[in-house]
């Protein structure tokens, strides 16, 4: 299947500062998370794909179109929800979203009809005649999503969509994004530094760090092959125990203080960990199954594990 977005050796510089360095990445169809700490280059990548920031090197294509050659055709097929607040002063929600629809090429009557529909969809139906300047932070996030959706794009760029939202609002926003990606057939690129947001909504992830791709792939695949993960709390000297575990085919990581996470490959018996602990005079105080999270993948990619 043709990738939705493809970057080949893309470098973006702001003056002397390099924001993206020789980035090559492929975004498959569906929902893809663009993950990374603040300043990793996530927003820069989205802005480059929109044509806001021309890359100094490399090529980018969106939905099969070259961004440098056909920026308007690209923007006609994507919806962009920016990270920062952005609205047109003095407008009500419905007039703003309809105006955005018209800007995207919809006829006036259709844009107005779509604006009403989309506002209901994002949960602003009752507040659609209110002036945007009276909206709360959560409502502003929703209106940004509505303006990105109004022209029915094939691909959505969502830049930190849950920023500043309360827990309930955040959950509702994530449900909306997951629905868009899984049930409505739209491709989504979700840029976030919040791991749970990406894990909840996306199937694929691209991890950026310091302007370069740290890792990319299916989240399930990145979490590792079959097997299980156990977490144990122990007392004793960890170094020889860790070596013994590795020698027996387990992958163990000495986490903070007295907690250890051990990956048990398929065919290995977790009970063997107790035998090894006993041999090395390690007192196991707590033993429980664990699951590898995107946080682990992220930490590995950042070189923190």
């Amino acid at each position: 299947m043709q990738p939705v977005v493809e970057l080949q050796h893309v470098t973006v510089r702001y003056g002397a500062r390099t924001a993206l360095q020789d980035v090559s990445a492929t975004f498959p169809t569906g929902a893809v998370g663009l993950l990374g700490p603040n300043g990793a280059g996530k927003s820069t990548m989205l802005r480059a794909l929109l044509g806001f920031v021309p890359p100094t090197e490399g090529q980018m294509s969106v939905l099969g179109l070259d961004v440098a050659k056909s920026p308007l055709a690209v923007r006609a097929r994507i919806g962009y929800m920016p990270e920062t607040d952005g609205h047109i002063p003095g407008m009500t929600a419905v007039s703003f979203v309809a105006f955005c629809g018209e800007l995207a090429g919809l006829p006036r009557a259709d844009a107005m009809q779509r604006a009403h529909e989309v506002l209901f969809y994002v949960g602003l139906g009752e507040a659609r005649y209110r002036n945007l300047e009276t909206y709360s932070t959560g409502m502003k996030q929703r209106i940004k999503l509505a303006q990105a959706l109004v022209h029915d794009p094939e691909l959505l760029f969502l830049d930190e969509p849950t920023n500043g939202m309360d827990p309930k609002g955040r959950e509702e926003m994530l449900v909306l994004i997951a629905d868009i990606a899984r049930n409505k057939g739209l491709n989504v690129i979700l840029s976030s530094h919040l791991l749970p947001d990406v894990e909840y909504t996306c199937d694929h992830v691209i991890v950026l760090d310091k302007g370069a791709v740290a890792t990319q792939g299916r989240i399930e695949g990145l979490k590792g092959p079959g097997g299980s993960l156990v977490e144990l709390r122990f007392k004793g000297e960890p170094a020889p125990f860790l070596a013994a575990l590795a020698g027996a085919g387990f992958q163990a990581h000495d986490a903070a203080d007295d907690i250890m996470r051990v990956f048990v490959p398929v065919g290995h018996d977790p009970q063997a960990i107790f035998a090894l602990a006993s041999t090395h005079r390690i007192q196991v105080r707590h033993f429980r199954p664990s699951v590898e999270t995107l946080e682990d993948v992220f930490a590995k990619a950042m070189g923190e594990v």
């Binding site: 920031v53 308007l72 029915d152």
Partner: protein, 278 residues
């Protein structure tokens, strides 16, 4: 009773071809302006001098006792000069054209849609340009028509054929200088008030500077630094006002071209989807 689907639906209707988004922006600008009562009153007030001139033409054409009101080519020059105050106020009123968008971070919303920066700027220029021409070019041309209608002959128009291009040239120069300068200034700030003050300051400061420098040096070439005096030279030349002008017409036209070009340069640099701080 059917339940209305309030979920997300795909759009299968037609889409406008690219290159027309400027009109969407222009229309929205016009709608915003016309929804403001004070702006509407200003636009109506700007037509009061026109009504006065119509009465003058009517009286001169129909009553011998009012022959002292007889119209001449200079009536049109005087009328357009009189409209200067309304032009100034209308332009100052459009100080938020881009400043408001910058304040509300709207540029990234506009430019993430399928429209070019040129379309955005054209849309923002259209409304002030249309309003200025609507209180200069339009009533001045209508005055010519009114003159023909009340006098019942084309003699005046035929004898003063240069009036038509003169009205167009002066009105367009006035509108271009004012709107381009204001929209460019508007792109430099996030405050419409600051933009309006800067424009007003520039307008009066450059005129005062010309007066002072021309007195000190004895050279009227300093009119080049004052947009108001450049326009005055163009007006005098176009309407064939007797007397020596500060500058030759071509120099004044060049000055106006430079002002417009500088404004375009500023807009080209300031209208970006993302503000890059180097």
């Amino acid at each position: 009773m059917p339940i209305h689907d309030q979920g997300y639906r795909h759009y299968a209707g037609r889409r406008r071809p690219p290159g027309t988004a400027w009109w969407v922006i222009a229309r929205q600008q016009i709608r915003t302006v016309l929804s403001q009562k004070r702006y509407l009153i200003l636009l109506l007030m700007a037509w009061v001098p026109f009504v006065g001139r119509v009465v003058q033409i009517y009286l001169a054409a129909n009553f011998q006792q009012a022959s002292f009101l007889a119209t001449s080519a200079q009536l049109f020059r005087g009328f357009l000069e009189q409209q200067g105050l309304f032009v100034f106020l209308l332009i100052v009123g459009s100080s938020g054209a881009i400043a408001d968008d910058r304040r509300a971070n709207a540029l990234q919303v506009y430019l993430s849609k399928p429209l070019t920066r040129v379309e955005y700027i054209a849309g923002k220029l259209f409304a002030p340009l249309a309003f200025v021409l609507g209180v200069t070019l339009l009533p001045a041309l209508l005055l010519l028509v009114v003159h023909v209608a009340f006098s019942g002959s084309l003699t005046f128009v035929v004898q003063n054929l240069y009036l038509l291009p003169a009205i167009v040239l002066y009105s367009v120069a006035l509108a271009l200088v004012g709107t381009f300068t204001m929209v460019a200034l508007s792109s430099l700030s996030k405050s419409r008030r600051f933009t309006a003050l800067t424009f007003t300051g520039l307008f009066f400061f450059t005129t005062a500077m010309y007066t002072a420098l021309s007195r000190i040096t004895g050279s009227r070439l300093w009119a080049l630094v004052s947009p108001r005096d450049l326009l005055s030279v163009i007006g005098d030349a176009a309407f064939r006002v007797p007397g020596q002008r500060a500058l030759p017409l071509w120099t004044a036209l060049l000055g106006v071209t430079v002002i417009v070009a500088l404004s375009i340069l500023v807009l080209e640099r300031r209208i970006r989807g993302v503000e890059v701080v180097k």
